[in-house]
Protein backbone atom coordinates (compact mmCIF):
# COMPACT_ATOMS: atom_id res chain seq x y z
CA UNK A 1 0.00 0.00 0.00
CA UNK A 2 1.34 3.45 -0.85
CA UNK A 3 1.80 6.08 1.78
CA UNK A 4 -1.16 8.11 0.43
CA UNK A 5 -3.47 5.09 0.47
CA UNK A 6 -2.49 4.28 4.07
CA UNK A 7 -3.17 7.84 5.13
CA UNK A 8 -6.53 7.83 3.32
CA UNK A 9 -7.50 4.55 5.01
CA UNK A 10 -6.53 5.94 8.38
CA UNK A 11 -8.63 9.03 7.67
CA UNK A 12 -11.63 6.84 6.77
CA UNK A 13 -11.18 4.86 10.00
CA UNK A 14 -11.11 8.07 11.99
CA UNK A 15 -14.36 9.21 10.41
CA UNK A 16 -15.99 5.83 11.16
CA UNK A 17 -14.77 5.96 14.74
CA UNK A 18 -16.11 9.49 15.04
CA UNK A 19 -19.51 8.42 13.72
CA UNK A 20 -19.57 5.46 16.14
CA UNK A 21 -18.70 7.73 19.08
CA UNK A 22 -21.48 10.11 18.06
CA UNK A 23 -24.05 7.31 17.94
CA UNK A 24 -23.03 6.17 21.42
CA UNK A 25 -22.99 9.73 22.77
CA UNK A 26 -26.51 10.38 21.48
CA UNK A 27 -27.87 7.15 22.95
CA UNK A 28 -28.72 5.79 19.54
CA UNK A 29 -28.28 2.16 18.52
CA UNK A 30 -25.44 0.47 16.70
CA UNK A 31 -26.84 -2.02 14.17
CA UNK A 32 -25.05 -5.10 12.77
CA UNK A 33 -24.15 -3.47 9.43
CA UNK A 34 -22.70 -0.34 11.08
CA UNK A 35 -18.97 0.00 11.51
CA UNK A 36 -17.84 -0.75 15.05
CA UNK A 37 -14.45 -0.99 16.73
CA UNK A 38 -13.25 -4.58 16.99
CA UNK A 39 -12.96 -4.54 20.81
CA UNK A 40 -16.64 -3.41 20.95
CA UNK A 41 -17.62 -6.34 18.74
CA UNK A 42 -15.50 -8.73 20.80
CA UNK A 43 -16.97 -7.54 24.08
CA UNK A 44 -20.49 -7.96 22.77
CA UNK A 45 -19.84 -11.43 21.40
CA UNK A 46 -18.40 -12.46 24.75
CA UNK A 47 -21.28 -10.96 26.72
CA UNK A 48 -24.16 -12.11 24.49
CA UNK A 49 -22.72 -15.61 24.11
CA UNK A 50 -22.23 -15.88 27.86
CA UNK A 51 -25.81 -14.74 28.33
CA UNK A 52 -27.13 -17.26 25.77
CA UNK A 53 -25.12 -20.07 27.38
CA UNK A 54 -26.55 -19.07 30.77
CA UNK A 55 -30.10 -19.46 29.47
CA UNK A 56 -29.35 -22.92 28.08
CA UNK A 57 -27.35 -24.20 31.06
CA UNK A 58 -29.93 -22.51 33.31
CA UNK A 59 -32.58 -24.93 31.99
CA UNK A 60 -30.87 -27.78 33.83
CA UNK A 61 -31.27 -27.01 37.55
CA UNK A 62 -35.00 -26.34 37.22
CA UNK A 63 -35.66 -28.70 34.32
CA UNK A 64 -34.68 -31.53 36.64
CA UNK A 65 -37.89 -30.90 38.62
CA UNK A 66 -40.43 -30.93 35.76
CA UNK A 67 -40.94 -34.68 36.03
CA UNK A 68 -41.39 -34.40 39.81
CA UNK A 69 -43.54 -31.25 40.11
CA UNK A 70 -46.11 -31.97 42.83
CA UNK A 71 -49.20 -30.70 41.01
CA UNK A 72 -50.14 -30.70 37.34
CA UNK A 73 -50.53 -26.93 37.36
CA UNK A 74 -47.00 -26.48 38.76
CA UNK A 75 -45.73 -28.98 36.24
CA UNK A 76 -47.21 -26.92 33.39
CA UNK A 77 -45.82 -23.66 34.80
CA UNK A 78 -42.33 -25.08 35.22
CA UNK A 79 -42.33 -26.83 31.85
CA UNK A 80 -43.37 -23.56 30.16
CA UNK A 81 -40.72 -21.60 32.04
CA UNK A 82 -37.90 -23.93 31.09
CA UNK A 83 -39.15 -23.83 27.51
CA UNK A 84 -38.99 -20.01 27.64
CA UNK A 85 -35.34 -20.29 28.62
CA UNK A 86 -34.63 -22.36 25.51
CA UNK A 87 -36.38 -19.60 23.55
CA UNK A 88 -34.25 -16.92 25.22
CA UNK A 89 -31.14 -18.88 24.32
CA UNK A 90 -32.31 -18.95 20.71
CA UNK A 91 -32.92 -15.17 20.50
CA UNK A 92 -29.57 -14.46 22.11
CA UNK A 93 -27.60 -16.79 19.86
CA UNK A 94 -29.36 -15.11 16.94
CA UNK A 95 -28.31 -11.68 18.28
CA UNK A 96 -24.73 -12.95 18.58
CA UNK A 97 -24.86 -14.28 15.01
CA UNK A 98 -25.51 -10.74 13.72
CA UNK A 99 -21.94 -10.03 14.88
CA UNK A 100 -20.48 -12.64 12.54
CA UNK A 101 -20.16 -15.70 14.81
CA UNK A 102 -22.27 -18.85 14.58
CA UNK A 103 -24.24 -20.83 17.10
CA UNK A 104 -22.51 -24.14 16.50
CA UNK A 105 -19.15 -22.51 17.12
CA UNK A 106 -20.36 -20.81 20.29
CA UNK A 107 -21.78 -24.11 21.53
CA UNK A 108 -18.43 -25.75 20.92
CA UNK A 109 -16.70 -23.01 22.88
CA UNK A 110 -19.11 -23.55 25.77
CA UNK A 111 -18.60 -27.29 25.82
CA UNK A 112 -14.84 -26.91 25.64
CA UNK A 113 -14.91 -24.52 28.59
CA UNK A 114 -13.65 -21.59 26.51
CA UNK A 115 -16.75 -19.47 27.20
CA UNK A 116 -18.50 -19.05 30.51
CA UNK A 117 -22.08 -18.95 31.73
CA UNK A 118 -23.60 -17.50 34.86
CA UNK A 119 -21.99 -19.15 37.88
CA UNK A 120 -25.35 -19.33 39.70
CA UNK A 121 -26.28 -22.42 37.67
CA UNK A 122 -23.42 -24.36 39.18
CA UNK A 123 -25.36 -24.72 42.41
CA UNK A 124 -27.60 -27.76 42.89
CA UNK A 125 -31.40 -27.72 43.23
CA UNK A 126 -32.14 -29.86 46.26
CA UNK A 127 -35.90 -29.53 46.72
CA UNK A 128 -38.98 -28.28 44.91
CA UNK A 129 -38.78 -25.07 46.96
CA UNK A 130 -35.61 -24.30 44.97
CA UNK A 131 -37.82 -23.88 41.90
CA UNK A 132 -39.69 -21.07 43.68
CA UNK A 133 -36.56 -19.48 45.11
CA UNK A 134 -34.80 -19.53 41.75
CA UNK A 135 -37.80 -17.75 40.26
CA UNK A 136 -37.90 -15.20 43.04
CA UNK A 137 -34.20 -14.50 43.73
CA UNK A 138 -32.28 -15.70 40.68
CA UNK A 139 -34.76 -14.40 38.12
CA UNK A 140 -35.17 -11.28 40.29
CA UNK A 141 -31.43 -10.65 40.17
CA UNK A 142 -31.38 -11.43 36.46
CA UNK A 143 -34.11 -8.84 35.91
CA UNK A 144 -32.14 -6.19 37.81
CA UNK A 145 -29.15 -6.99 35.62
CA UNK A 146 -31.08 -7.23 32.40
CA UNK A 147 -33.68 -4.48 32.42
CA UNK A 148 -30.97 -1.86 31.79
CA UNK A 149 -29.72 -3.98 28.89
CA UNK A 150 -32.96 -3.17 27.06
CA UNK A 151 -31.16 0.15 26.42
CA UNK A 152 -27.88 -1.46 25.42
CA UNK A 153 -26.19 0.41 22.56
CA UNK A 154 -26.25 -2.69 20.31
CA UNK A 155 -29.69 -2.89 18.69
CA UNK A 156 -30.25 -6.67 18.33
CA UNK A 157 -29.19 -7.28 21.94
CA UNK A 158 -31.39 -4.49 23.27
CA UNK A 159 -34.43 -5.75 21.35
CA UNK A 160 -33.90 -9.37 22.45
CA UNK A 161 -33.69 -8.14 26.04
CA UNK A 162 -37.06 -6.39 25.91
CA UNK A 163 -38.84 -9.67 25.22
CA UNK A 164 -36.66 -11.64 27.60
CA UNK A 165 -37.24 -9.23 30.48
CA UNK A 166 -41.00 -9.43 30.04
CA UNK A 167 -40.88 -13.20 30.30
CA UNK A 168 -38.40 -13.13 33.18
CA UNK A 169 -40.70 -10.86 35.15
CA UNK A 170 -43.42 -13.42 34.65
CA UNK A 171 -41.12 -16.15 35.90
CA UNK A 172 -40.23 -14.12 38.95
CA UNK A 173 -43.88 -13.60 39.79
CA UNK A 174 -44.62 -17.31 39.33
CA UNK A 175 -41.70 -18.26 41.60
CA UNK A 176 -42.76 -15.86 44.31
CA UNK A 177 -46.35 -17.09 44.09
CA UNK A 178 -45.18 -20.70 44.55
CA UNK A 179 -43.30 -19.66 47.69
CA UNK A 180 -46.30 -17.75 49.08
CA UNK A 181 -48.43 -20.85 48.54
CA UNK A 182 -45.88 -23.16 50.17
CA UNK A 183 -45.54 -20.80 53.17
CA UNK A 184 -49.29 -21.18 53.72
CA UNK A 185 -48.87 -24.98 53.66
CA UNK A 186 -47.38 -27.38 56.19
CA UNK A 187 -44.47 -26.69 58.60
CA UNK A 188 -42.35 -29.05 56.49
CA UNK A 189 -43.03 -26.91 53.43
CA UNK A 190 -42.14 -23.70 55.28
CA UNK A 191 -38.87 -25.28 56.39
CA UNK A 192 -38.14 -26.26 52.78
CA UNK A 193 -38.63 -22.67 51.66
CA UNK A 194 -36.37 -21.25 54.38
CA UNK A 195 -33.69 -23.82 53.60
CA UNK A 196 -33.79 -22.92 49.92
CA UNK A 197 -33.57 -19.18 50.72
CA UNK A 198 -30.56 -19.85 52.97
CA UNK A 199 -28.76 -21.64 50.16
CA UNK A 200 -29.62 -19.26 47.28
CA UNK A 201 -29.33 -15.82 48.90
CA UNK A 202 -25.57 -15.33 48.70
CA UNK A 203 -25.12 -16.91 45.28
CA UNK A 204 -27.89 -14.56 44.05
CA UNK A 205 -25.96 -11.51 45.31
CA UNK A 206 -22.90 -12.82 43.48
CA UNK A 207 -24.85 -12.78 40.21
CA UNK A 208 -24.07 -9.07 39.89
CA UNK A 209 -20.40 -9.91 39.52
CA UNK A 210 -17.37 -8.89 41.54
CA UNK A 211 -17.30 -5.54 43.37
CA UNK A 212 -16.71 -2.54 41.11
CA UNK A 213 -13.09 -2.07 42.15
CA UNK A 214 -12.36 -5.66 41.05
CA UNK A 215 -14.36 -5.76 37.83
CA UNK A 216 -11.89 -5.48 34.94
CA UNK A 217 -14.27 -5.08 32.01
CA UNK A 218 -16.92 -2.88 33.61
CA UNK A 219 -15.58 0.61 32.93
CA UNK A 220 -15.16 0.10 29.20
CA UNK A 221 -18.56 -1.57 28.84
CA UNK A 222 -20.14 1.38 30.62
CA UNK A 223 -18.34 3.87 28.38
CA UNK A 224 -19.71 2.00 25.35
CA UNK A 225 -23.16 1.87 26.95
CA UNK A 226 -23.24 -1.90 26.56
CA UNK A 227 -23.68 -1.81 30.32
CA UNK A 228 -25.55 0.95 32.13
CA UNK A 229 -24.99 0.54 35.87
CA UNK A 230 -22.14 -0.73 37.98
CA UNK A 231 -22.22 -4.18 39.62
CA UNK A 232 -22.45 -2.70 43.11
CA UNK A 233 -25.26 -0.33 42.18
CA UNK A 234 -27.33 -3.18 40.73
CA UNK A 235 -26.61 -5.38 43.74
CA UNK A 236 -27.83 -2.63 46.09
CA UNK A 237 -30.94 -2.19 44.00
CA UNK A 238 -31.67 -5.92 44.21
CA UNK A 239 -31.28 -5.99 47.99
CA UNK A 240 -33.56 -2.96 48.39
CA UNK A 241 -36.19 -4.60 46.23
CA UNK A 242 -35.97 -8.03 47.84
CA UNK A 243 -35.97 -7.34 51.59
CA UNK A 244 -39.64 -6.20 51.73
CA UNK A 245 -40.61 -9.22 49.61
CA UNK A 246 -38.84 -11.53 52.09
CA UNK A 247 -40.71 -9.90 54.97
CA UNK A 248 -44.03 -10.37 53.24
CA UNK A 249 -43.14 -13.99 52.56
CA UNK A 250 -42.14 -14.62 56.17
CA UNK A 251 -38.61 -15.88 55.53
CA UNK A 252 -35.32 -14.70 57.04
CA UNK A 253 -32.49 -13.64 54.75
CA UNK A 254 -29.28 -15.26 56.05
CA UNK A 255 -27.28 -12.06 56.61
CA UNK A 256 -26.76 -10.81 60.20
CA UNK A 257 -25.51 -7.47 58.85
CA UNK A 258 -28.66 -6.76 56.88
CA UNK A 259 -30.40 -3.63 58.23
CA UNK A 260 -32.15 -0.48 57.04
CA UNK A 261 -29.88 2.56 56.84
CA UNK A 262 -32.14 5.58 57.26
CA UNK A 263 -29.40 7.99 56.32
CA UNK A 264 -28.73 6.35 52.98
CA UNK A 265 -32.35 5.38 52.50
CA UNK A 266 -31.13 1.92 51.50
CA UNK A 267 -30.29 -1.38 53.16
CA UNK A 268 -26.81 -2.14 54.44
CA UNK A 269 -25.76 -5.72 53.88
CA UNK A 270 -22.82 -8.09 54.39
CA UNK A 271 -20.09 -8.96 51.93
CA UNK A 272 -20.53 -12.07 49.78
CA UNK A 273 -17.73 -14.63 49.87
CA UNK A 274 -15.83 -13.46 46.80
CA UNK A 275 -13.40 -16.36 47.04
CA UNK A 276 -16.33 -18.69 46.59
CA UNK A 277 -17.40 -16.77 43.48
CA UNK A 278 -13.87 -17.07 42.07
CA UNK A 279 -13.83 -20.79 42.76
CA UNK A 280 -17.20 -21.34 41.09
CA UNK A 281 -16.30 -19.19 38.08
CA UNK A 282 -13.01 -20.99 37.64
CA UNK A 283 -14.80 -24.33 37.42
CA UNK A 284 -14.75 -25.52 41.00
CA UNK A 285 -18.41 -25.08 41.92
CA UNK A 286 -20.64 -27.93 43.11
CA UNK A 287 -22.14 -28.70 39.67
CA UNK A 288 -19.84 -27.20 37.01
CA UNK A 289 -18.80 -30.54 35.58
CA UNK A 290 -22.27 -32.02 35.67
CA UNK A 291 -23.78 -29.05 33.80
CA UNK A 292 -21.22 -29.02 31.00
CA UNK A 293 -21.23 -32.80 30.77
CA UNK A 294 -24.99 -32.89 30.25
CA UNK A 295 -24.80 -30.15 27.61
CA UNK A 296 -21.99 -32.03 25.88
CA UNK A 297 -23.95 -35.27 25.95
CA UNK A 298 -27.04 -33.64 24.43
CA UNK A 299 -24.93 -32.01 21.73
CA UNK A 300 -22.94 -35.12 20.86
CA UNK A 301 -25.92 -37.49 20.99
CA UNK A 302 -27.78 -35.12 18.68
CA UNK A 303 -25.03 -34.96 16.07
CA UNK A 304 -26.46 -37.80 13.94
CA UNK A 305 -29.89 -36.09 13.98
CA UNK A 306 -28.47 -32.76 12.80
CA UNK A 307 -26.41 -34.54 10.14
CA UNK A 308 -29.51 -36.40 8.94
CA UNK A 309 -31.50 -33.17 8.69
CA UNK A 310 -28.72 -31.56 6.67
CA UNK A 311 -28.40 -34.62 4.40
CA UNK A 312 -32.14 -34.70 3.81
CA UNK A 313 -32.19 -30.98 2.99
CA UNK A 314 -29.40 -31.51 0.44
CA UNK A 315 -31.28 -34.40 -1.15
CA UNK A 316 -34.46 -32.35 -1.32
CA UNK A 317 -32.64 -29.46 -2.95
CA UNK A 318 -31.07 -31.81 -5.50
CA UNK A 319 -34.48 -33.35 -6.26
CA UNK A 320 -36.03 -29.92 -6.69
CA UNK A 321 -33.28 -28.96 -9.06
CA UNK A 322 -33.66 -32.18 -11.07
CA UNK A 323 -37.42 -31.72 -11.14
CA UNK A 324 -37.08 -28.13 -12.30
CA UNK A 325 -34.74 -29.31 -15.02
CA UNK A 326 -37.26 -31.91 -16.25
CA UNK A 327 -40.40 -29.78 -16.20
CA UNK A 328 -39.94 -26.10 -15.69
CA UNK A 329 -42.24 -24.43 -13.19
CA UNK A 330 -43.79 -27.57 -11.77
CA UNK A 331 -43.67 -27.82 -7.98
CA UNK A 332 -42.57 -31.23 -6.68
CA UNK A 333 -45.06 -33.11 -4.48
CA UNK A 334 -44.77 -32.34 -0.79
CA UNK A 335 -43.54 -35.07 1.55
CA UNK A 336 -45.56 -36.09 4.57
CA UNK A 337 -49.30 -36.04 5.24
CA UNK A 338 -51.31 -32.91 4.54
CA UNK A 339 -52.09 -32.48 8.21
CA UNK A 340 -52.95 -29.08 9.61
CA UNK A 341 -50.47 -26.28 10.00
CA UNK A 342 -46.95 -27.13 8.92
CA UNK A 343 -45.36 -24.73 11.31
CA UNK A 344 -46.62 -23.33 14.52
CA UNK A 345 -45.01 -20.48 16.27
CA UNK A 346 -43.16 -21.48 19.40
CA UNK A 347 -44.75 -20.21 22.55
Amino acid sequence: MTQTATAAAAGADDRLQEHFDQVIAHDRRIEPRDWMPEPYRGTLVRQIAQHAHSEIIGMQPEGAWITRAPSLRRKAILFAKVQDEAGHGLYLYAAAETLGVDRADLTRRLIEGRQKYSSIFNYPTLSFADVGVIGWLVDGAAICNQVPLCRSSFGPYARAMVRICKEESFHQRQGYELLLTMMRGTPAQRAMVQDAVDRWWWPSLMMFGPPDDASPNSARSMAWKIKRHSNDELRQRFVDMTVPQAEKLGVTLPDPELRWNAERGRYDFGTPDWDELKRVISGDGPCNEERIERRRRAHENGAWVREAAAAHARKQAARREAEAGRSQGRVPPKAGPEAGPGDREAR
Partner: protein, 286 residues
Protein backbone atom coordinates in the same frame (compact mmCIF):
# COMPACT_ATOMS: atom_id res chain seq x y z
CA UNK B 1 -34.23 6.49 37.03
CA UNK B 2 -35.61 5.78 33.57
CA UNK B 3 -38.86 3.94 33.33
CA UNK B 4 -37.37 0.83 31.73
CA UNK B 5 -34.82 0.57 34.51
CA UNK B 6 -37.46 0.06 37.10
CA UNK B 7 -37.98 -3.54 37.97
CA UNK B 8 -41.29 -2.96 39.71
CA UNK B 9 -42.86 -1.40 36.65
CA UNK B 10 -42.20 -4.45 34.55
CA UNK B 11 -43.44 -6.68 37.34
CA UNK B 12 -46.56 -4.63 37.83
CA UNK B 13 -47.70 -4.84 34.23
CA UNK B 14 -51.15 -6.28 33.59
CA UNK B 15 -51.76 -9.99 33.33
CA UNK B 16 -50.57 -10.93 29.89
CA UNK B 17 -51.32 -14.62 29.83
CA UNK B 18 -51.27 -14.80 26.06
CA UNK B 19 -47.57 -15.48 26.03
CA UNK B 20 -47.98 -18.43 28.38
CA UNK B 21 -48.65 -21.94 27.33
CA UNK B 22 -52.17 -23.15 27.80
CA UNK B 23 -52.52 -24.98 31.08
CA UNK B 24 -50.29 -22.78 33.22
CA UNK B 25 -52.72 -20.04 34.12
CA UNK B 26 -55.61 -21.81 35.77
CA UNK B 27 -56.19 -23.87 38.89
CA UNK B 28 -59.47 -25.50 37.84
CA UNK B 29 -59.15 -26.80 34.29
CA UNK B 30 -62.91 -26.84 33.73
CA UNK B 31 -63.80 -23.72 35.69
CA UNK B 32 -67.18 -22.27 34.66
CA UNK B 33 -68.05 -25.24 32.47
CA UNK B 34 -71.47 -26.88 32.88
CA UNK B 35 -70.43 -30.23 34.30
CA UNK B 36 -73.81 -31.96 34.09
CA UNK B 37 -73.67 -35.36 32.38
CA UNK B 38 -76.24 -35.34 29.55
CA UNK B 39 -79.08 -37.85 29.43
CA UNK B 40 -78.20 -41.04 27.63
CA UNK B 41 -74.50 -40.90 28.60
CA UNK B 42 -73.33 -43.57 31.02
CA UNK B 43 -71.16 -41.72 33.58
CA UNK B 44 -68.98 -44.77 34.25
CA UNK B 45 -68.27 -45.23 30.53
CA UNK B 46 -67.55 -41.53 30.09
CA UNK B 47 -65.21 -41.53 33.09
CA UNK B 48 -63.35 -44.57 31.76
CA UNK B 49 -62.92 -42.93 28.36
CA UNK B 50 -61.63 -39.70 29.94
CA UNK B 51 -59.23 -41.51 32.29
CA UNK B 52 -57.80 -43.60 29.46
CA UNK B 53 -57.23 -40.60 27.17
CA UNK B 54 -56.08 -38.45 30.10
CA UNK B 55 -53.55 -41.03 31.27
CA UNK B 56 -52.24 -41.43 27.70
CA UNK B 57 -51.57 -37.70 27.56
CA UNK B 58 -50.10 -37.44 31.05
CA UNK B 59 -47.65 -40.30 30.60
CA UNK B 60 -46.70 -39.15 27.08
CA UNK B 61 -46.08 -35.65 28.45
CA UNK B 62 -43.93 -37.05 31.24
CA UNK B 63 -41.75 -38.85 28.69
CA UNK B 64 -41.45 -35.68 26.61
CA UNK B 65 -40.37 -33.78 29.74
CA UNK B 66 -37.51 -36.26 30.06
CA UNK B 67 -36.14 -34.92 26.76
CA UNK B 68 -35.75 -31.49 28.35
CA UNK B 69 -32.10 -30.29 28.04
CA UNK B 70 -31.23 -33.43 26.03
CA UNK B 71 -32.80 -32.59 22.65
CA UNK B 72 -30.58 -32.69 19.55
CA UNK B 73 -31.06 -28.98 18.83
CA UNK B 74 -32.53 -25.95 20.62
CA UNK B 75 -35.43 -25.73 18.17
CA UNK B 76 -36.31 -29.29 19.19
CA UNK B 77 -36.15 -28.33 22.88
CA UNK B 78 -38.81 -25.73 22.19
CA UNK B 79 -40.95 -28.00 20.02
CA UNK B 80 -40.86 -31.05 22.30
CA UNK B 81 -41.77 -28.86 25.27
CA UNK B 82 -44.62 -27.39 23.23
CA UNK B 83 -46.00 -30.83 22.52
CA UNK B 84 -45.49 -31.95 26.12
CA UNK B 85 -47.35 -28.88 27.35
CA UNK B 86 -50.24 -29.43 24.95
CA UNK B 87 -50.61 -33.02 26.15
CA UNK B 88 -50.35 -31.97 29.78
CA UNK B 89 -53.15 -29.46 29.18
CA UNK B 90 -55.27 -32.22 27.62
CA UNK B 91 -54.53 -34.53 30.56
CA UNK B 92 -55.57 -31.87 33.06
CA UNK B 93 -58.97 -31.36 31.44
CA UNK B 94 -59.66 -35.05 30.84
CA UNK B 95 -58.71 -36.15 34.36
CA UNK B 96 -60.76 -33.34 35.84
CA UNK B 97 -63.74 -34.43 33.74
CA UNK B 98 -63.23 -38.05 34.82
CA UNK B 99 -63.21 -37.05 38.50
CA UNK B 100 -66.39 -35.02 38.03
CA UNK B 101 -68.42 -37.80 36.44
CA UNK B 102 -67.16 -40.94 38.21
CA UNK B 103 -68.87 -39.99 41.45
CA UNK B 104 -65.69 -39.85 43.55
CA UNK B 105 -65.10 -36.11 43.27
CA UNK B 106 -61.37 -36.68 42.76
CA UNK B 107 -59.36 -33.78 41.35
CA UNK B 108 -56.85 -33.96 38.49
CA UNK B 109 -54.06 -34.11 41.10
CA UNK B 110 -55.76 -36.87 43.11
CA UNK B 111 -55.91 -38.92 39.94
CA UNK B 112 -52.39 -38.10 38.80
CA UNK B 113 -50.56 -38.41 42.09
CA UNK B 114 -52.47 -40.89 44.22
CA UNK B 115 -53.09 -43.83 41.91
CA UNK B 116 -50.89 -46.91 41.74
CA UNK B 117 -49.55 -48.15 38.37
CA UNK B 118 -52.23 -50.85 38.09
CA UNK B 119 -54.89 -48.16 38.26
CA UNK B 120 -53.39 -46.22 35.40
CA UNK B 121 -55.25 -46.80 32.13
CA UNK B 122 -52.79 -45.51 29.52
CA UNK B 123 -51.81 -47.58 26.51
CA UNK B 124 -48.38 -49.14 26.93
CA UNK B 125 -46.91 -47.32 23.92
CA UNK B 126 -46.60 -44.07 25.89
CA UNK B 127 -44.88 -45.57 28.94
CA UNK B 128 -41.93 -47.06 27.04
CA UNK B 129 -38.63 -45.25 27.72
CA UNK B 130 -37.66 -42.53 25.23
CA UNK B 131 -34.91 -44.47 23.45
CA UNK B 132 -33.13 -42.41 20.81
CA UNK B 133 -34.64 -39.49 18.91
CA UNK B 134 -35.76 -41.83 16.11
CA UNK B 135 -37.73 -44.05 18.50
CA UNK B 136 -39.27 -41.00 20.14
CA UNK B 137 -40.35 -39.62 16.75
CA UNK B 138 -41.72 -43.00 15.61
CA UNK B 139 -43.77 -43.20 18.81
CA UNK B 140 -44.93 -39.59 18.54
CA UNK B 141 -46.03 -40.14 14.95
CA UNK B 142 -48.07 -43.24 15.76
CA UNK B 143 -49.46 -41.78 18.97
CA UNK B 144 -50.47 -38.44 17.52
CA UNK B 145 -51.85 -39.92 14.29
CA UNK B 146 -54.04 -42.24 16.34
CA UNK B 147 -55.04 -39.60 18.89
CA UNK B 148 -55.91 -37.15 16.13
CA UNK B 149 -58.17 -39.75 14.50
CA UNK B 150 -59.82 -40.40 17.87
CA UNK B 151 -60.21 -36.74 18.81
CA UNK B 152 -61.65 -35.92 15.39
CA UNK B 153 -64.42 -38.45 15.98
CA UNK B 154 -65.04 -37.34 19.57
CA UNK B 155 -65.19 -33.68 18.55
CA UNK B 156 -67.69 -34.48 15.82
CA UNK B 157 -70.04 -36.83 17.57
CA UNK B 158 -69.56 -37.55 21.26
CA UNK B 159 -72.67 -37.01 23.36
CA UNK B 160 -70.81 -35.28 26.21
CA UNK B 161 -70.34 -31.61 25.33
CA UNK B 162 -67.36 -31.22 27.67
CA UNK B 163 -65.45 -34.07 26.05
CA UNK B 164 -66.47 -32.75 22.63
CA UNK B 165 -64.99 -29.35 23.46
CA UNK B 166 -61.78 -30.80 24.89
CA UNK B 167 -61.39 -32.94 21.77
CA UNK B 168 -62.07 -30.00 19.43
CA UNK B 169 -59.28 -28.01 21.07
CA UNK B 170 -57.00 -31.04 20.99
CA UNK B 171 -57.50 -31.63 17.26
CA UNK B 172 -55.62 -28.44 16.39
CA UNK B 173 -52.76 -29.35 18.71
CA UNK B 174 -52.52 -32.94 17.54
CA UNK B 175 -52.47 -31.95 13.89
CA UNK B 176 -49.27 -30.04 14.66
CA UNK B 177 -47.80 -32.90 16.73
CA UNK B 178 -48.42 -35.34 13.90
CA UNK B 179 -46.89 -32.99 11.35
CA UNK B 180 -43.84 -32.39 13.53
CA UNK B 181 -43.26 -36.12 14.01
CA UNK B 182 -43.92 -36.88 10.34
CA UNK B 183 -41.39 -34.25 9.26
CA UNK B 184 -38.73 -35.85 11.45
CA UNK B 185 -39.54 -39.40 10.37
CA UNK B 186 -39.09 -38.25 6.77
CA UNK B 187 -35.87 -36.36 7.51
CA UNK B 188 -34.36 -39.26 9.42
CA UNK B 189 -35.58 -41.96 7.03
CA UNK B 190 -34.32 -40.00 4.02
CA UNK B 191 -31.21 -38.58 5.75
CA UNK B 192 -27.97 -40.51 6.28
CA UNK B 193 -27.42 -44.28 6.36
CA UNK B 194 -27.23 -44.14 10.14
CA UNK B 195 -30.42 -42.14 10.54
CA UNK B 196 -32.24 -44.41 8.06
CA UNK B 197 -31.22 -47.46 10.08
CA UNK B 198 -32.22 -45.85 13.38
CA UNK B 199 -35.57 -44.71 11.98
CA UNK B 200 -36.33 -48.19 10.66
CA UNK B 201 -35.43 -49.69 14.04
CA UNK B 202 -37.54 -47.06 15.78
CA UNK B 203 -40.62 -47.98 13.75
CA UNK B 204 -39.99 -51.69 14.34
CA UNK B 205 -39.70 -51.13 18.09
CA UNK B 206 -42.97 -49.20 18.16
CA UNK B 207 -44.87 -51.69 15.97
CA UNK B 208 -45.75 -54.30 18.66
CA UNK B 209 -47.61 -51.63 20.66
CA UNK B 210 -49.74 -50.27 17.83
CA UNK B 211 -52.49 -52.86 17.75
CA UNK B 212 -53.30 -52.01 21.37
CA UNK B 213 -54.16 -48.47 20.26
CA UNK B 214 -56.74 -49.78 17.81
CA UNK B 215 -58.24 -52.06 20.42
CA UNK B 216 -58.49 -49.09 22.80
CA UNK B 217 -60.34 -47.00 20.23
CA UNK B 218 -62.40 -49.76 18.63
CA UNK B 219 -65.62 -48.47 20.15
CA UNK B 220 -65.21 -45.16 18.37
CA UNK B 221 -65.42 -46.65 14.91
CA UNK B 222 -69.21 -46.49 15.12
CA UNK B 223 -69.07 -42.75 15.87
CA UNK B 224 -68.41 -39.97 13.42
CA UNK B 225 -69.01 -42.01 10.27
CA UNK B 226 -66.36 -42.47 7.62
CA UNK B 227 -63.74 -45.18 7.77
CA UNK B 228 -62.27 -46.82 10.84
CA UNK B 229 -59.61 -45.30 13.05
CA UNK B 230 -57.29 -48.10 12.00
CA UNK B 231 -57.70 -47.35 8.29
CA UNK B 232 -57.09 -43.66 8.83
CA UNK B 233 -53.93 -44.19 10.91
CA UNK B 234 -52.50 -46.90 8.65
CA UNK B 235 -53.09 -44.61 5.67
CA UNK B 236 -51.17 -41.77 7.28
CA UNK B 237 -48.30 -44.02 8.35
CA UNK B 238 -48.00 -45.49 4.86
CA UNK B 239 -47.83 -42.02 3.32
CA UNK B 240 -45.14 -40.86 5.77
CA UNK B 241 -43.15 -44.08 5.44
CA UNK B 242 -43.09 -43.78 1.67
CA UNK B 243 -41.73 -40.23 1.82
CA UNK B 244 -39.18 -41.48 4.36
CA UNK B 245 -38.09 -44.35 2.06
CA UNK B 246 -39.22 -46.83 4.74
CA UNK B 247 -41.92 -49.44 5.01
CA UNK B 248 -44.58 -49.70 7.70
CA UNK B 249 -44.01 -52.83 9.80
CA UNK B 250 -46.81 -55.30 10.55
CA UNK B 251 -48.86 -54.53 13.64
CA UNK B 252 -49.18 -57.98 15.21
CA UNK B 253 -51.44 -58.13 18.29
CA UNK B 254 -49.48 -58.63 21.53
CA UNK B 255 -50.59 -59.72 25.01
CA UNK B 256 -51.16 -57.08 27.62
CA UNK B 257 -53.59 -54.19 27.80
CA UNK B 258 -52.81 -50.84 29.38
CA UNK B 259 -56.50 -49.88 29.36
CA UNK B 260 -57.10 -52.86 31.69
CA UNK B 261 -54.20 -51.83 33.95
CA UNK B 262 -51.77 -54.43 32.60
CA UNK B 263 -48.57 -52.47 32.00
CA UNK B 264 -44.92 -52.98 31.12
CA UNK B 265 -42.38 -52.72 33.97
CA UNK B 266 -41.52 -49.22 32.66
CA UNK B 267 -44.61 -47.51 34.11
CA UNK B 268 -43.97 -47.99 37.83
CA UNK B 269 -40.63 -46.13 37.95
CA UNK B 270 -42.06 -43.32 35.82
CA UNK B 271 -44.96 -42.85 38.25
CA UNK B 272 -42.70 -43.26 41.28
CA UNK B 273 -40.64 -40.31 40.10
CA UNK B 274 -43.66 -38.24 39.08
CA UNK B 275 -45.43 -38.76 42.40
CA UNK B 276 -42.38 -38.56 44.68
CA UNK B 277 -42.65 -34.96 45.89
CA UNK B 278 -46.43 -34.92 46.19
CA UNK B 279 -46.42 -38.12 48.24
CA UNK B 280 -43.48 -37.11 50.44
CA UNK B 281 -45.38 -34.05 51.66
CA UNK B 282 -48.93 -35.14 52.39
CA UNK B 283 -51.27 -32.21 52.92
CA UNK B 284 -48.85 -29.88 51.14
CA UNK B 285 -50.11 -26.85 49.26
CA UNK B 286 -48.70 -26.19 45.83
Amino acid sequence: MREDDHVYLSLAEGQDDARWAFGTGFEDPLHGVDTEVPDGVDPAELAALCVGLGDDALVASQRLAEWCTLAPELEEEVALANIGLDLLGQARMLLTRAGQVDGTGRTEDDLAYLREPEHYRNVRLVELPNGDFAFSMARLLVFSAHRLAVFGRLAAAHADPVLRAVAAKGVKELAYHRQYAADWVVRLGDGTDESHRRMREGLEAVAPYVDELFRASGELDREGGGGSVRDEVVGVLAQVAEAATLTVPEFEPMDGDGRAGVHTPCLAPLLFEMQSVARALPGGRW
